[in-house]
């Protein structure tokens, strides 16, 4: 993970700390309002917006002028042989054309030679050669890069209405219509009939026509048996969940946490989603920690702590030495009173010692994140210690109880983190309408299971695959068969989370082209790598299977107080 790139940071690193080009230099006053005005879609050139670019009509001439300047500067740069400085730099948020152009202009007008930074004692020339060699040796895996982001149809959603106190627990942005990205992989006759029957069954359940639903569920079993691969497995899990709902046999979430941890480990190994989540979140955290000597990470879901060795290794490699690294890992109470958190903490401590990082660990057991109080976390002042809060697939659970998410976001604000990293499933599995939820989940898990199939857990153990499927199967069961506080897999889309975060007093920290590139390269390590897609979406990164984004990483900071 090389971070010796100079950042093009017009909009990079902070969506609302620096104003975009035409407004002149960063104006620190009126900050909260400023970004909101930036989001006002009313002034945006509509034709450009449809094509994925946010440019205000009133800024168009200014953007054009900057482009002309950039054109000239780039032409000169080319002759001087430093033309690819710009392409070696980190880019952020390409939709914001004004900032993008401005940052390149700034960079090219004041070129900072690469060897002034971190790990390179190389000369500039050698750096060029190194990067060229990499580009020649690197066998590009991304030929078929069909990557989808909720682009065009998310733009109507950026008409954000500022709620007065942000206590509105409804998470829906004022959308015109939602997007339903569908990738058909299996258009064989039997597959279509199977889906049809599943949908019909869901309809019957919604209409409380349990007799019909029962008949259909049995029929699904028959149809599924004649299918192969991912489709069969998905159908089986969905059928089972439907059956539970029909017969009223709801699953208890009484599995020992160590069992669920184990399932997650298999999932972690089999496919890239968790690794992507950890990797991209760590990128953002590392950048936030760049200038600190004391850092603290609060991890909302420690599990087996798999995210942290990589971060610690990066910290260890920092020029000038690693900061003091404090980790607070949060996890559920263990039924048998074992201290699983401490066990993980110990392992991490051992690693820290071998790589020379001063490390402190603390475990906190709570039933729900909503039970957390900032004072439990021993937060130190920002001048003393930089705080990152990290949440991978945890926040959506809070939506099961009213007030939960609001309490947690409020606590986070009290902690004053420099950065908050959030990874969530990219789907709306929280619709109150059962059939809608069912349909969404069917598409989502079909893609997910298809990717497991495709990432060919090369030569067995197929046990990994089975365990991974079990891990996902439990989610399916929860989405379909459970209700109320039991239904914790309340996934919501990036657009929905964005809305919630921005109306709760946070603003985005953009992930850039370096994170994008390295995440893409990570995927190449998985069989089926070219079928996974990383995408940039308004400063966030998503990972998907073919054109269907499946998880999204976003980073946030506190919106500056006006």
């Amino acid at each position: 993970m090389k971070r010796d790139h100079q950042a093009i940071s017009g909009a990079g690193g902070g969506g609302c700390g620096i104003s975009s080009g035409s407004k002149g230099e960063s104006s620190i006053t009126n900050k909260g309002k400023l970004w909101e005005e930036d989001q006002d879609a009313g002034d945006m050139d509509e034709l450009m917006a449809v094509l994925g670019y946010k440019v205000r009509s009133s800024d168009m001439a200014d953007v054009a002028q900057k482009m002309e300047q950039l054109d000239m500067v780039m032409g000169t740069a080319q002759e001087d042989g430093i033309s690819h400085l710009a392409s070696d730099r980190v880019h952020y948020n390409p939709s914001d054309l004004s900032s993008w152009v401005q940052s390149m202009l700034t960079e090219l007008n004041n070129p900072v030679l690469p060897n002034s930074d971190s790990n390179s004692s190389k000369t500039q020339q050698k750096q060029q050669i190194v990067s060229n060699n990499q580009s020649q040796v690197y066998n590009d895996d991304s030929e078929y890069d069909l990557r989808a982001i909720p682009g065009v149809f998310a733009y109507p959603q950026t008409k954000r209405i500022k709620t007065s106190t942000g206590t509105d627990s409804s998470s829906s942005p004022p959308t015109e219509s939602s997007t339903r990205p569908v990738v058909l992989v299996d258009s064989q006759e039997a597959g279509v009939r199977l889906v049809h029957t599943l949908m019909a069954c869901a309809e019957a359940v919604q209409q409380q026509n349990l007799k019909l639903a029962d008949a259909l569920v049995k029929h699904i079993g028959l149809l599924a048996a004649s299918q192969a691969g991912a489709m069969r497995k998905v159908a089986t899990y969905f059928a089972e969940a439907l059956a539970r709902r029909i017969y009223g046999v709801y699953p208890q979430d009484s599995l020992h946490p160590s069992y669920t941890d184990m399932l997650q480990m298999y999932f972690y190994e089999t496919c890239p989603y968790l690794k992507f989540a950890h990797f991209t979140a760590n990128q953002a955290i590392l950048e936030a920690f760049a200038t600190s000597n004391r850092v603290h990470v609060v991890d909302f879901g420690l599990n087996q702590g798999m995210q942290w060795p990589a971060l610690m290794q990066e910290l260890a490699l920092r020029p000038g030495g690693p900061p003091v690294f404090r980790l607070t890992g949060i996890g559920p109470h263990q039924p048998d009173n074992t201290d699983a958190l401490q066990q993980v903490g110990c392992k991490l401590a051992q690693l820290a010692e071998t790589i020379g990082v001063r490390f402190e660990f603390r475990g906190l057991m709570v039933n729900s994140l909503a039970d957390l109080e900032p004072k439990m976390l021993d937060i130190r002042p920002p001048e003393v210690e930089t705080l990152a809060v990290n949440s991978v697939f945890e926040l959506h659970r809070l939506l099961a109880r009213p007030g939960g998410i609001e309490k947690v976001l409020s606590s986070i604000k009290t902690m004053k983190p420099k950065i908050l990293t959030i990874v969530e499933e990219e789907a709306n599995h929280n619709s109150p309408v059962f059939v809608d939820r069912f349909t969404e989940a069917l598409h989502y898990y079909s893609s997910l299971f298809d990717s497991l199939e495709g990432s060919g857990v090369a030569p067995p153990p197929s046990q990994d695959l089975v365990m991974s499927e079990l891990y996902l199967g439990r989610q399916i069961c929860n989405v379909v068969a459970c209700e109320g506080v039991e239904r914790v897999e309340r996934h919501e889309t990036l657009a929905q989370w964005r809305f919630r975060m921005e109306t709760s007093g946070f603003c985005p920290v953009h992930l850039g082209s370096n994170a994008y590139k390295q995440a893409s390269m990570l995927l190449a390590l998985f069989a089926g790598g070219d079928e996974y897609r990383v995408e940039e979406n308004d400063g966030c990164l998503t990972l998907g299977w073919h054109t269907r984004p499946l998880i999204a990483t976003s980073a946030w900071q506190l919106a500056a107080v006006v």
Partner: protein, 344 residues
């Protein structure tokens, strides 16, 4: 390369609306970053910068779309666009491949542009264009996500086009009621236009009928430097140098621009005389530096006795069809709708 400065930039700004100028200049600047002098391509940055949109099975403005994996081996995806019917505003996934109901439904297989190296079927600019074509021609549009250069050279793009065409031709749900056949048109811009020609050739030789070819600013070239190339080099967003780069990236190593892929009626080309070939609609922008090659293409078709209509848009630059804010756009869209409908 002659450093075109303020004079030319101002000229250029006078012939297109400001937002079009910004859009195309954005591509020009971004693409400059991506092409490396050694012939390699910064694919990661390219994908990062490209603005994409997902398929959407919910109709928007009367059109819905979904993606299909046509060929697992090459990960060949295509995006299908269909008109939403009033009776079934929202189809579930089982209904996406519902049979077309009209007597005659044109199916337009679309190949996006990008000089063989850039863009994808889900690039926002092309998703938008394809959606327009659905309403314009009352057609189903199939946008092919073909493999790109320099990672995949000739003939990969043509192979993928041919694979997609065979797939389309064999879908029962795309057959028109009138004759239980799929009524196929090929359309594409820039490199996509080039692909149209070559795939049509393969199709006709294999006995699959293509009813019409639509080539928007098609990408052709040759070893010779033509008058238009010299006159317009660097003046309207495009340089000879970048054109050369893309051909070097697409053509087999060691081949020059008289390779038949680049120059179908050149010294290594072949005559289409006596061959059954679809009627063609060829749109040429008057400010496109490769127009001499495009006009030569039209000539080549005429000389072979093939039916071809040339639309020469004098004051148009590349990319004029990306935004509906100019007369050229509307003229061309009009012609396309007449071209596709005139079949029945």
């Amino acid at each position: 390369m002659a450093r075109s400065n303020e004079v030319n930039l101002n000229e250029c700004k006078m012939v297109v609306p400001l937002n079009t100028w910004v859009l195309i200049s954005n591509f020009k600047l971004a693409y400059n970053l991506l092409r490396r002098p050694d012939g390699t391509f910064n694919r990661h940055l390219a994908e990062f910068l490209d603005r994409k949109v997902p398929a959407n099975a919910n109709p928007v403005d009367g059109v819905f779309s979904f993606d299909v994996l046509i060929d697992r081996g090459t990960s060949l995806l295509s995006r299908i666009y269909r008109p939403a019917t009033a009776e079934e505003p929202q189809l579930n996934v089982a209904g996406l491949e519902k049979p077309v109901t009209a007597e005659v439904v044109p199916v337009i297989i679309f190949f996006h542009g990008g000089s063989f190296a850039h863009s994808s079927a889900n690039s926002a600019i092309y998703d938008t264009l394809c959606r327009r074509l659905v309403g314009l021609c009352k057609a189903v549009v199939v946008s092919v996500n073909y493999r790109r250069a320099p990672e995949n050279r000739y003939p990969c793009a043509y192979d993928d086009g041919w694979t997609a065409l065979k797939w389309v031709n064999s879908r029962p749900w795309l057959q028109s009621q009138k004759d239980s056949k799929v009524h196929i048109y090929l359309a594409g811009d820039s490199s996509g236009g080039n692909i149209v020609h070559h795939v049509a050739l393969i199709a006709m030789e294999s006995g699959i009928d293509v009813l019409g070819n639509i080539l928007l600013n098609p990408m052709f070239g040759g070893q010779e430097r033509t008058e238009s190339e010299q006159r317009l080099d660097g003046k309207y967003f495009v340089t000879l140098r970048d054109r050369d780069w893309y051909w070097r990236a697409y053509l087999p190593e060691g081949e020059d621009r008289d390779h038949h892929a680049c120059n179908p009626f050149g010294p290594n080309g072949r005559s289409l005389e006596g061959i059954k070939f679809p009627k063609s609609l060829v749109v040429v922008a008057g400010l496109d530096l490769i127009q001499d090659w495009q006009l030569a293409y039209v000539d080549g078709l005429k000389k072979a006795g093939q039916e071809v209509k040339l639309l020469y848009m004098e004051q148009a630059t590349i990319g004029f069809y990306l935004l509906p804010n100019n007369n050229h756009f509307h003229t061309v869209m009009d012609e396309i709708s007449k071209f596709v409908v005139s079949d029945c």
